[in-house]
Amino acid sequence: MAKAKELFKEFKIQSVSEFFRRNAAMLGYTGKIRSLTTVVHEAVTNSLDACEEAGILPYVRVEIEELGKEHYKIIVEDNGPGIPEKFITHVFGKMLAGTKAHRNIQSRGQQGIGISGAVMFAQITSGKATRVITSTGGDEIIEAWVKIDVEKNEGKIVKKIKHPNPTGWRGTRIELEVKNVKYVRSKQGVFWYLKLTAIANPHAHIELIEPDGKLIVFPRSSEEVPKPPVEMKPHPRGVMTDDVYRMAKRTRKNTVKRFLISEFSRISDRKIDELIKYIAAIRLINSEEDKRIKDELFERLAKGEVDLILRSYGRRAKKVIREVQKLMDKPPEKLTWHEAEEIVEAFKYIKFLAPPTHGLRPIGEENIVKGLTGILKPEFVTAVTRPPKVYRGGIPFQVEIGLAYGGELESSFNLLRYANRVPLLFDAGACVTTTAARSIDWKRYKVEDLDRAPLTLLINVISVHVPYTSTGKQSIANEDEIYEEIRLAIMEAARRLQTYLSGKHRKLYQVKRKKTLQKYVPEIARALSILTGEPEEKVKEYFISLIERKFETVEETLEQPAEVEADAEA
């Protein structure tokens, strides 16, 4: 344990540039295409988050200029609240200082490094400072060149100019110069990233100017700014040792007991008593030497026989309980790594209420429909937002599905993956969304050949803690509960698609029927005219109006699927 503790300390003191280089993969700066996408992602995310918090309908414009071979200038401009002068270094300079880094909040970033990482990347590859132009809408516009002081882990304004702001412009424009990156219009590139972002954020107007000067607009399709996510206290089942340890260091509570009750959800005074008993039991069991007995006792503990186990240790148990009670009364900052570990271990045996889910912010069915409709222009679209669920016993999550079909979609299956609204562009194969989508028997829903169907599926997994398969945070791990939820959501959406497709087939069939009947009318009219002496044109009219009436009534019954079936039988 001592080792882990040291490591953690080391982690805090290592130089920022060192940290950046070591964790480039984790931070999203691997590969030429991906690095560029990550820079854009950080800037756009910043813009969207800022607008969201300020209740502004975002207007984001991304411009990529090619300066040379693998050398680009990235410009991201928004109409957000702007950055007050004194916060500029804070926002763009400080690594690991992001406001959300250690909050239990469903955030777009989650990387904890954000735009400062992009500034750092620009600095490392091109040596250039990042140009920031911002105004909060007041009298002046600030133009600043920001660099990161790698020694101090701080932002540094290299140059600053103040301009008057006669038009009252508000927003932020940042310009980063980066090398060793490449603009490609692939499914991993900026274009695709922005497209997916636009779909998941229908309230945003997003524009892209590609290196060749081409302007692409993803227009806004919703006029509603989503509410920013609220912070949620972590659930005991959803934390790891280092979370508890770190939180204990920062808390303002006086005792471990108070700290646990106030900073975690679902922990009450009574739960603390329970926790004490469990920790004591774990300590006692761990003191057993025989592995067989140990395993057996842990098994019994898992069944909730904590009191019986303690009783079997008699007076020794009472002593240990007293020790644990002391631990609960000590100041939280004195909590050791080992003790934090014990608490987390005990959490696993205790039953807690399911975590609250109010902190989760889905895109919402309505907005998914708007996003898919606005950007993809399909002929059919539906969305399913499942109620929140919990995985690993304590981590709340929620699954959302959007399904678009036909219209302007190409005849190929597209899976748009998101975690907390952020598009996932890499490692699709390893992602639970992919395996879940592929596990569906699409034929049952009238989709004969999924890979050749004009079908786009959007999957958004929302959680305060999305279980990624790797540090790259580009694919979601195969947690049973998440997998099942995704499947259920897809099946619900697919059932609606099936209903639509059946109706569509029927409509097409009706049109065909009508045509079939109509083409015989002239022949029949001539024959009947010969047989009866009635003028041919008149006979034709009778038949045409007969057909019209027939299909009018059929179209009416189409509104009510149950009756359509009955009609088909007749």
Binding site: K519, I524, L531, L546
Partner: protein, 381 residues
């Protein structure tokens, strides 16, 4: 002796009747459509399951199963259109007094439907059934609708016929007699100088009888069917019997095929069950060949073996044997006499041709066999 009987039917050819029926059909459909109803045609179902044997009238008749063909049903619409097309064509034919063959009717009505790549009729196999449907729907003969089939068969004997503007005696047209046209509806019998009609299966036998002056000597009318009797011939037989009171005697080979020819003339056929009342002649009698003839006239040496596998052998019955067993089960062969003949045929495994009688002598059939059997009324029912 066979003598002409009192006529039971009268010459009934009336082109106006067909026209009236066609117009009625058109009016009914038009009225339905005008009232916003889905127009339909009621067509008696074809096939074995809508056929039965009328024990009283002793003919194969059509049941009353109808299939209703709606215009607004996509599966029916094409047939609906085709039926009306043919109906209109028939109206033109009849009112203009023209006749057309089935194939002509097909070509006359085949054209591309405007605005499509579809033809009104793709094949004659589409138009022929539509014509049959019309016959059954309206209860009129194809011949009455001036649609003719292939002609086959001829007549020789002392009767005078009026066919349009021509009038002639069928015994004065040479040895070939008078070829029966596809349609005999309009034929009128001016004078009948015979006592009965002898229907003969093979042309060779008919020619033999004509050469032997059999018609003259026996006051008989020879009708050669040349195999299975055509509709024209069957209608002619029917009319001669019912309108002119001529007894009908059938003379075929002594084999299942010959007996079936007799059965068709007498009871009608399954395919044309709806026409039995106009085509069949249940009073017809059968003179030969029978199995008993073999014994009686010592023809054992000139029999032929039946084809196929007998019922008691492995794989049987097939071929002629199978056919005989089927005939044994026909309701109209459920008589002692016929069951005996059919059983003997099975038992002996032989057939006997009409022309086998030539074994005795060329004149034998005309001088002895037929006159004797007919005079003694050794006829099968």
């Amino acid at each position: 002796m066979l003598k002409r009987e009192m006529p039971k039917e009268r010459f009934a050819y009336d082109p106006q009747k067909v026209l009236r029926k066609l117009e009625e059909l058109g009016r009914e459909i038009l009225e339905e459509v005008r009232q916003g109803k889905n127009p339909y045609l009621d067509i008696p179902t074809r096939g074995l399951n809508n056929v039965y044997f009328d024990e009283v009238k002793r003919v194969i008749r059509m049941g009353n199963k109808l299939s209703r063909r709606y215009f607004l049903n996509v599966a029916h619409a094409r047939k609906f259109m085709q039926t009306l097309l043919i109906a209109a064509y028939v109206k033109r034919l009849v009112s203009e007094g023209k006749h057309a063959s089935l194939r002509e009717a097909y070509y006359a009505n085949k054209h591309t439907i405007p605005g499509t790549k579809e033809n009104t009729f793709e094949d004659q196999s589409e138009s022929d059934p539509v014509i049959e449907d019309l016959e059954r729907m309206l209860g009129v003969l194809r011949e009455e609708m001036h649609l003719t089939a292939d002609r086959r068969g001829y007549v020789y004997g002392d009767i005078t016929i009026r066919d349009g503007e021509d009038e002639f005696n069928t015994s004065k047209l040479g040895m070939g007699g008078w070829a029966v046209p596809g349609t005999v509806e309009h034929i009128q019998f001016v004078d009948i100088n015979v006592d009965y009609a002898l229907v003969v299966e093979t042309a060779a036998m008919a020619d033999r009888l004509i050469e032997e002056k059999f018609p003259k000597k026996e006051r008989a009318l020879i009708i050669a069917t040349q195999g299975q009797a055509s509709r024209g011939v069957r209608r002619l037989i029917h009319r001669l019997h019912y309108e002119e009171g001529l007894p009908i005697i059938v003379f075929t080979d002594g084999d299942p095929y010959g007996w079936y020819i007799y059965s068709t003339i007498k009871q009608g056929s399954i395919n044309l069950a709806y026409l039995s009342e106009k085509l069949a002649t249940p009073e017809a009698k059968f003179v030969g060949m029978t199995m008993d003839d073999i014994k009686k006239y010592g023809l054992e040496n000139v029999t032929e073996k039946l084809k196929g596998i007998p019922p008691n052998k492995k794989g049987g019955p097939t071929g002629d044997y199978k056919r005989i067993i089927e005939e044994m089960n026909y309701p109209w062969f459920q008589t002692k006499e016929w069951q005996r003949q059919l059983k003997l045929a099975l038992q002996w495994g032989v057939r006997i041709e009409q022309q086998a009688l030539a074994n005795k002598s060329l004149e034998f059939v005309a001088k002895k066999y037929l006159p004797e059997k007919i005079a003694n009324e050794e006829l099968l029912p």
